[in-house]
């Protein structure tokens, strides 16, 4: 693919995260020499695109590398002959996310933007758009790799596997790398000495085994983390600690999002308090974003502003850039991504998408055999997978009953009656972005 120079396309290029990505590309230019980088957005995002695009150009110029940055509202023109396409768009923008969080909370339910009712609606809005993009790629760049950042990353990727013939899609998430680095910090060792075997689903992934310099230190590490009350956490999730005895009994590392299930009561209470005090997080983010764009507009700024790190997407750039770089260079290293199960986790169907440690080569990611998840977590994982399957089906068919099933079986939703109320309210509120529901 390198002959004519690498072409990378970023859909949702006007996102506030883009400078992260640009920084990552610049850092890796030697081994991943992008010739053309296309930042694509829709009409409504034009202004942001221009703002972010301006900063991107200044960053590249400062780095003195020959990478051409194109800003475009014409997705098809951008996709033509692309080598890598990254997706980080947000259907309905942050105001849709506000609805995703607010309506459930009104009914005393956590919205949760990936595996909860909020995530469900994000999937319903996103999946049809993603399927359209894939259809365009089949024609315009059939050999490209599609690296999906858009959440809920697992469901979006599974929808593409189940409803198109496209195989070259990978979902990425910064949770696993974040856990690895937090463990290194808790153990007070260099990041590169720690490796974790991951298995599960997006935002429902477990650190199954922890290695230091290649040796399995899982139990020791868990004891250390639990005793030191180290912060194994993401900036955007309330840092409520798990019971030490519970984690010791589990003998695995839950991810920060597991708090929504294993500490559901405390998380809900905390969200309700926060909501009363500060409003929903989406609104906080909106303010943050506004500030960021004000910075981006500043012509004197020609590097990624420090403030971006508070936005919650730490390591996203590293995760995505490392992945593309490894594919491009056929590295054969191990990274944790969302891909087809294919027997890796026995109790999930072969056609499901999982998040797991994979070997990355030019042919993409292939998961390392896990066998099965420990019995103790198999139920929760299967329940989220059932919810994901129903959500994907509802996104594609626009069937009300299927959507009601998805909402009711979500472990955050405490009854079919409340499920129906939230569903009905959200279908109305998001009507504009859900043409498939008639």
């Amino acid at each position: 693919m390198e002959r004519r120079g690498l072409k990378v396309v970023t859909i949702g290029g006007g996102s506030s995260y883009t400078p992260e990505l640009i920084e990552g590309f610049i850092k890796r230019y030697d081994t991943f020499p992008i010739k053309e980088l296309w930042l694509v957005d829709i009409e409504e995002g034009k202004e942001k695109l221009n703002t972010v695009g301006g900063l991107a150009k200044r960053m590249v110029e400062k780095a003195k590398i020959p990478m051409d940055i194109h800003l475009s509202l014409d997705r098809k023109a951008a996709l033509k002959d692309a080598d890598f396409v990254t997706t980080q768009f947000r259907v309905g923008q942050l105001s849709a996310r506000a609805i995703d969080e607010e309506i459930p909370l009104k009914y005393g339910v956590i919205g949760q933007e990936t595996n909860g009712p909020g995530g469900m609606f994000k999937a319903l809005r996103t999946i049809p758009v993603m399927l359209t993009i894939v259809k365009e790629m089949e024609v315009l760049c059939p050999n490209a790799w599609l690296i999906n950042f858009t959440n809920p990353a697992g469901m979006v990727v599974e929808a593409v596997f189940r409803h198109t013939n496209w195989k070259r899609i990978i979902g990425v998430c910064n949770v696993p790398i974040g856990m690895e680095r937090a463990v290194a910090k808790a153990l007070e060792v260099e990041e590169e000495r720690v490796r974790i075997d991951f298995g599960g689903l997006n935002h429902m992934v477990f650190g199954l085994a922890i290695y230091l310099d290649g040796e399995d230190i899982t139990l020791k590490a868990i004891n250390r983390i639990v005793s030191s009350k180290s912060e194994i956490n993401m900036r955007n999730i309330n840092n409520i600690a798990f019971e030490a005895d519970f984690i010791r009994a589990l003998k695995m590392l839950p991810c920060p999002y597991h708090r929504y299930y294993y500490k559901q009561k405390e998380m809900l209470e905390s969200e309700l308090v926060d909501y009363k005090e500060k409003g929903i997080r989406a609104k906080v983010v909106q303010t943050l974003e506004k500030d960021l764009f004000d910075l981006y507009k500043n012509k004197n700024i020609d590097e990624k502003p420090k403030q971006l790190e508070q936005r919650g997407g730490a390591y996203y750039s590293d995760v995505a850039c490392n992945l593309m770089e490894s594919i491009f260079n056929d590295r054969g290293d191990i990274q944790t991504v969302n891909t087809l199960n294919n027997g890796t986790i026995a109790s999930l169907s072969r056609e499901s998408v999982i998040e797991a440690s994979c070997v990355i080569t030019k042919e993409g990611p292939r998961p390392i055999a896990i066998g099965d998840l420990p019995v103790v977590v198999r139920g929760l994982v299967q329940q989220i997978k059932s919810f994901e399957r129903m959500t994907i089906e509802a996104a594609v068919t626009g069937d009300y009953h299927t959507a009601l099933l998805a909402m009711t079986i979500n472990p955050l939703v405490p009854s079919d009656t409340i499920a129906k109320q939230i569903l009905d309210d959200m279908l109305t509120a998001h009507k504009l972005f859900l043409p498939q529901f008639k």
Copy 2:
């Protein structure tokens, strides 16, 4: 086995349910001619045993059949050369059940005597006793069939499969037959014209397909039931209706116990109200029982008193007697029992115990292939199975951490912290009956 005359042993013979069973045996004497019926109990249950045994003898006498009734506190003597052993004992009596319900409620959690925290502790108390009984049977009556009524029936049976070499055990439950009869009533047809394919776990079983005169009328029946607001319910569960749209979307029939999951919020609220108003159900049952035993003592009564039917065990006698009669006569008919999965439900391990429609022959029950449960319910079922597996392991090992895992992953328990509190309180309260926990 029939040569020397059938010998049946009922462990927990002093139960208030026993007259049900006696009535069932009397009705089937022609095809299931019991020569010796041994009612066995422990020292603490002696008085009840004598009371119930007296009534049993009067019933048999009235029926003019040559069935010898033996009352005994010597379990080993009773088991010797038995053909069928039924177990309906209750470790810790009704007062233990009161604790099972009360402590969780104190923490705002439903106790639920089979699949909830209450059921977990019932399993912890019961499983070691059952394993002891099976060990005795291996020596005293190796060819007998063990028909287990004791709840949680699924876990008790799985414990025997996983921790002994005994294969001739079957768990019975009156939920499936109750659903079949309720459907017949809703459809206004004779009971024998309705047949349902069942699959799932004990108290977590689904009616996967409904037949009228052999024809699949599932969707029609569900619509009828939902529209008519027919009472598909058990007397001992709050009759809170599912959302009609939810059941239509499900395209299966949930069992009454599914309310604890699909209507968790409403069930909890209702239990809390009831608790305040009437105290816990175990106490109501205690009163009911006292009244029943007063009746049983009446020498003029020589048949099953009508009042027994309010006790909640409707059809239990039919279920158990039909099962034994079919085994004895190699009927080859279809009954719904708890037995080894063996591939019947693909997403559950082969060694798990499931509740499913089985063909019953002299060799016991064998399930009819289901393939897999519909995706929509696979998660919840797997979650209960994970909980059951952890509970069984905790019951056998007495390991605190394993018990904590079981309690935390139970879908009725909203956080690891609350799980730990309930667990600690219940371990203390039930200490006497949990010698395996040190």
Copy 3:
């Protein structure tokens, strides 16, 4: 379906076996009251159809039952509103079968009309015709049951499951019932006291457990059969005895066709001798058939001639009629048929067709859980299934390479070179009946 009177259609009605079927229908008229029986054939079979049809009418008349027999060359007219359709046609007649046997033998390979190279070509000729029939049924009689006698019965049924949406098809075979009756004879007990659990594939089925009066006597029975050298065999397979120690070690009952694998050398030698002495069996059968049709023409004959029994299809009529009768009356009894695996045998894919003991109700057959076949036979069964899968795919696509794979992996074929030679010769010889191969 009974309202307007039962309509049964037999495709390939001009077969010499038809009087068997007629006799079966007459015997069961009370519980399976056929009003219209349509015998259908193609133009080339017109004379045979009229001959057999004449006998059929005399048989019905003699029995004094009001069953109308229609003879027709118009398949669509016949299928209209049918309740049951049975298929017993033979594409290419007996002369095609002669080729199926002769070409492989020329290369020192057993032809074997079901699971060998011969059976492969029978499948290639038959499957496209069967798929056409099913397409007609989808329009003309969507609620009918299709009972397939045509060999290779397993592959034909799997082709319908894999390449149409039709679910109401069942493959029947007389091997299991023949084994059951032979075991009864060997044990010197009445047939109805013996029951066998069957599992495997068509003509590759094992008697997994043998019951006498419902009690498992497998090992005892095997010892008895092996010691007494009882003839567990079909009339149309050379009766070469298995090694007694091998069957004892197996602890299961192989079917007569297993000789082709476990006694391959002896079977091949015997076929080669027979071939030199008597010519191929297809020719013997042709003579037999001619004699039968001469008998059928005799107007004085009004019942099934005894000579038909030498034809090899013993019990076929019983098998098919019992099956239809059980479906019609929702019997719930156990019969051994070819149907979807659906998890019954774990190491075969869920979508495969197996031959297994099934419960038969108005909704058709459902297999009883087996778990998995014993390891010792899992390989051979999987190998035949791989061969079947390749054959079905070749039959549908007409792809030469796929056909070569099927032929090469067949366990009777000793090398890829010989496979290619047999394949090429047979494709030429059968050209007329294989329009899908260009």
Copy 4:
């Protein structure tokens, strides 16, 4: 483990292959610095041990590295605190192999020293010894890795997994690396540019996908290999070419040993001719060995003699040394070894041992997800696995019936009668080395 210096133990150290291994260790001294190398053998092998040991010492001396070579007949002393143990012993020496080949040939059956009747007896002799070694290691060096060269490598490793609690065992074979290098040669590119995904069983492994510089060129490569009649072969197997159309149809690369199944007739004929002309291969090897040992004795020789390469074990040293080096250094690279299936190949049981591409870290090998083998080969692979399972069970139990099952189901054995004859003859001939058979 490196603190006190690496200790490696080679059991069967007197083998003629040992100089290969020594050369490998010398080449890798920088990254795999062995401090002590123990060559261990039994009393009967003392002379050979001393001869080979002498050469080994001269080689190390010449290389000027501080590696101590110990020669010992005391296995326990050698195993104490070992870091790596390699096994390359041969129970019964080459004369046993001669019997393994000769007796089957007498009955017109290929002996085949790994997956055939010969390999079966090699397993029966080897497995009990290996289980003893593992029991010693559990005590003497519980953290060591056991790298098994001894054939049949797959069965030996599976026996250890099934019949001990030892997990740190890996089976190695030179077939996969040989195929990779042969493909590189056929494509006329450097070896390191070619990578193959392997899956299957030992000596029954398939090249599932072929990559050049990371790009999948499977079909292109197969066409090239087939057209150019490149020699994808091992020196010790008759080079009889597969049918070009068959390999094209297969769309995978069979291994050289597949000739025994896909070209069984030709291989048998060729072996019979060879046998008449040259006697059995074991005898040829005996002569070769004698010549090698004569060379080894020559004090002037201080490097691996070129003649060793004709011995058939090309790359064995590379395979084993690369594996140990990768474990020691936690490389995370991909190598093809024999290890637990664990869901990698869905149609084989999770507890089976497979040969597959694995990621190698300090924690050992973990296979990369395959999903399942293509249907077309699933049968043959399962059949060899069934044979392996029966053989392992027979090796451990010494049960005659189980051994008869293993022999009869082997695809090289054409009937149960011949199986019994070969089995009986071989049990007698090998009596001395089969104490478990009484």
